[in-house]
Amino acid sequence: MLTIAETSFSSRLFLGTGKFASSKIMEQAISASGTEMVTVALRRVDLSNPNDDIMSVIDPRKYTFLPNTSGARNSDEAIRLARLARAASGNRWLKLEVTPDPRTLLPDPVETLVATEKLVKEGFIVLPYMNADPILALRLQDAGAAAVMPLGSPIGTNQGILTAFQIEIIIEQAGVPVVVDAGIGAPSHAAQAMEMGADAVLVNTAIAIARDPIAMAGAFAKAVEAGRTAYEAGMGAKSTNAQASSPLQGISEDLSFL
C-alpha cells in the first residue's frame, strides 16, 4: 500500500490524461489501468464545469484528482494556476510543473523549489515534477513536498529510465515517496522503475498513443505490479565479473585475531 499525504493507494500506477483519442477511450484506459490517481492539466479543463469532457469522467469517489500546472514557465504562473484550481475545486492536491523551455519541457529546478516552498505554506499537497537530481529531491522534501516526481527521460519521448543512476540515489535517500514520471514508454520501463524501488510511476503518452490504449493500460498495471513484487522479493546485486560465492581472499588470516 502506498501512502502520500496520509492518503493510501493500492495501485502504484498513476495516469496522465493528455493525448487520448477521446474522453471515452481515456475513461476506459483509466479503468483498465486500475489507477487511483489521475493527473489533469489545469489548462485543459474547466474545473467549474461538471460537464467538462475530462472532469466528467474522473469520479472523485474513485480517483484522487491531481491537477497539474503544465504550461507554467515560472513559479508565479504555477502558483497562480494552483490557487485558481483550488478556488474552483477545493482540491489541495497539485502536481507542480514548471517548464520554461517549450522545446524540451524540462523542469526548472530553481522555480520549482521556490513554488514548492510557497505552495506548501499555503496548504497545498505538492508533488513536484523534477529533473532526476538527488540534491534537488532532498531540497524539495525539506520544503515540504508530499512526494517527488523525477523524470526518467524527457516528457513524451518514450525513452525509458535514462536517469536510472540518479533515480536510484533519490530512492535511497528519500523520506517521501518517489514517483518516476516522464519518459516511460513501455511496460518494461515501468517494471524497471518499480524494481529499482520507486513508489509509483506516472504514465501518459505510452498508453494514450498505443494502438489499443485500453490493452496497454492493462499491460502497464501488470508491469507495475510485477516490478513492485520483484522489489519486495529482494533482488541480488549486479556484477560485471563472475563472483565466487565466498570472496574470502586473505580474510581468514585477517580474522586470526578473533
Binding site: E172, A174, L255
Partner: protein, 366 residues
C-alpha cells in the same frame, strides 16, 4: 522506534539464505541488516568481514582518523547502575575549571591531536551550556574539530554551542531496550528514554556537522541493539541529509561499582555488529575506542572501523596528572598517538589527525 522485542523475533526468523542474500544485496535495508546480525549469520563472519572491508576501502580509502577525549568532570546526577560515574559510587570527584580544561586540551594538542571529544558526567550544575560555550571559544582556533559527549541538551543549547565552535555531538542511548532502560536508570534526568532518543534530532536540527550514536554493549541483546542502531541511523539520515553520522560500539569495561555485564558480547559478536553496520550503511563513521584492547583494534584496522581514539585518559585532569583516580572506566589500549599511528602505517593505512577545519563554521562564528 519499533518495539525492541520485535527486533529479537525478526532476528530469530532469519535463515542462512537470508544472510547470503543480504551479502549480495546492492542496497541493504533493515531486512538485510537483521539477516546480517542474526544467529544465522554467525558462521558467515569471514564473508561479512570481506564485504565490510571492501566497502570501507571504497568509501573511506586507506585512512583511519584519530582523536582523544578530554574528561571535564566526573560529577553526575544520574544513577546508571553500570557506570563508574554513577552518583552512588564513591570515587574522587573532580570538575576541571576552564583553565584546567584548556590545559588538558593543550597537552593533547602538543601530542598531535586535532580532533578532541569533550566528555563529562551528566550534571547541569557542574558543566552547563555556558561552560561548554566558553571552553569551545577558547579551543576552536587550535583544534580542527570539537565534539561533545555530555548530558542531552535543548535545541537552543545546541544552537549556542554550534555557534561557539562545537562541530559534533555524541549521545549514546545506552540500551534501546525500553524496559531494561527503566531498570538501569533508576533516578536522574536520564530516566527519560524519549528525551535521550530525540537528542540527535535536536543537535542535527541546529546544523551540527556530525552526530554520534551508539549502544552500550553488555546490557541487552547485542543483535537487537544493532537493529535499533540501524533503524535509528536510517531514520536520522532520512531527516538530516546534510549531517554526517557515526556509530560507536562501547563494550562495558571494569569500572567503579563493579557492575557485571548482563549479557556477554565477545569479540566475534562485536566484529559481526561492526561488519553488519558497515554493510548496511557504507558511509557511516565507525568508531572503536580505547575501551578495546590493542590486539582487537589492530586486527580490525581496515575491516570496518574508520576512527580510533588513542592515548586516552578517562579521568578529569588525567593527562596532566596520570596518577589521578576517578576514571569512568579502565582503558584497554594504553598506546600513545605516535605508537598508534605507527601501527596504522604498518598496516598500509594513513593515520589522519586532521580531517576538518574550523573555517567551515566561520560564518557561524563571526
Amino acid at each position: 522506534m519499533p518495539d525492541f522485542f520485535s527486533w529479537q523475533n525478526q532476528l530469530e526468523r532469519c535463515s542462512e539464505s537470508d544472510v547470503m542474500h543480504a551479502l549480495e544485496c546492492a542496497k541493504p535495508g533493515i531486512g538485510e541488516l537483521s539477516a546480517l546480525l542474526s544467529p544465522a549469520a554467525d558462521r558467515f563472519l569471514p564473508q561479512l568481514a570481506a564485504r565490510s572491508r571492501d566497502l570501507t576501502l571504497q568509501r573511506f580509502g586507506r585512512t583511519t582518523q584519530l582523536y582523544a577525549p578530554v574528561y571535564l568532570s566526573n560529577f553526575c546526577t544520574n544513577r546508571c547502575v553500570y557506570c563508574g560515574f554513577s552518583a552512588t559510587n564513591k570515587i574522587d570527584r573532580k570538575a576541571l575549571t576552564l583553565d584546567e580544561a584548556e590545559k588538558e586540551a593543550e597537552i593533547l594538542y602538543r601530542r598531535g591531536f586535532r580532533h578532541i571529544l569533550l566528555v563529562s558526567g551528566e550534571s547541569d550544575a557542574i558543566i552547563d551550556v555556558s561552560y561548554l560555550e566558553n571552553l569551545a571559544k577558547r579551543l576552536c582556533s587550535r583544534f580542527a574539530s570539537l565534539s561533545i559527549e555530555v548530558q542531552p541538551l535543548s535545541t537552543e543549547a545546541y544552537r549556542r554551542l554550534f555557534a561557539a565552535g562545537i562541530t559534533a555531538v555524541a549521545v549514546y542511548q545506552e540500551t534501546y531496550d525500553r524496559e531494561l532502560y527503566k531498570e538501569l536508570h533508576p533516578a536522574g534526568k536520564k530516566r527519560d528514554y524519549d528525551f535521550r532518543l530525540d537528542t540527535p534530532d535536536r543537535a542535527a536540527a541546529v546544523g551540527m556537522r556530525e552526530i554520534g550514536i551508539g549502544a552500550l554493549l553488555g546490557l541487552s541483546n547485542w543483535r537487537a541493539e544493532g537493529m535499533a542502531l540501524g533503524y535509528h541511523l536510517n531514520s536520522l539520515r532520512r531527516r538530516f541529509w546534510q549531517t554526517n553520522f557515526s556509530v560507536s560500539f562501547p563494550r562495558l569495561r571494569p569500572a567503579a561499582g563493579a557492575f557485571a555485564p548482563l549479557t556477554e558480547v565477545n569479540l566475534k559478536n562485536l566484529s559481526q555488529l561492526i561488519f553488519a553496520l558497515r554493510i548496511f550503511d557504507p558511509d557511516v563513521g565507525l568508531i572503536v575506542s580505547t575501551r578495546e584492547e590493542a590486539a582487537f583494534r589492530d586486527g580490525m584496522l581496515g575491516l570496518g572501523p574508520t576512527r580510533y581514539s588513542a592515548g586516552s585518559s578517562t579521568a578529569p585532569g588525567g593527562y596532566g596528572n596520570p596518577e589521578l583516580n576517578g576514571e569512568q572506566f579502565s582503558v584497554g589500549d594504553h598506546r600513545s598517538l605516535p605508537e598508534m599511528a605507527a601501527v596504522i602505517r604498518s598496516k598500509g593505512f594513513d593515520p589522519v589527525c586532521k580531517d576538518w577545519d574550523a573555517s567551515f563554521q566561520e560564518s557561524t562564528l563571526s
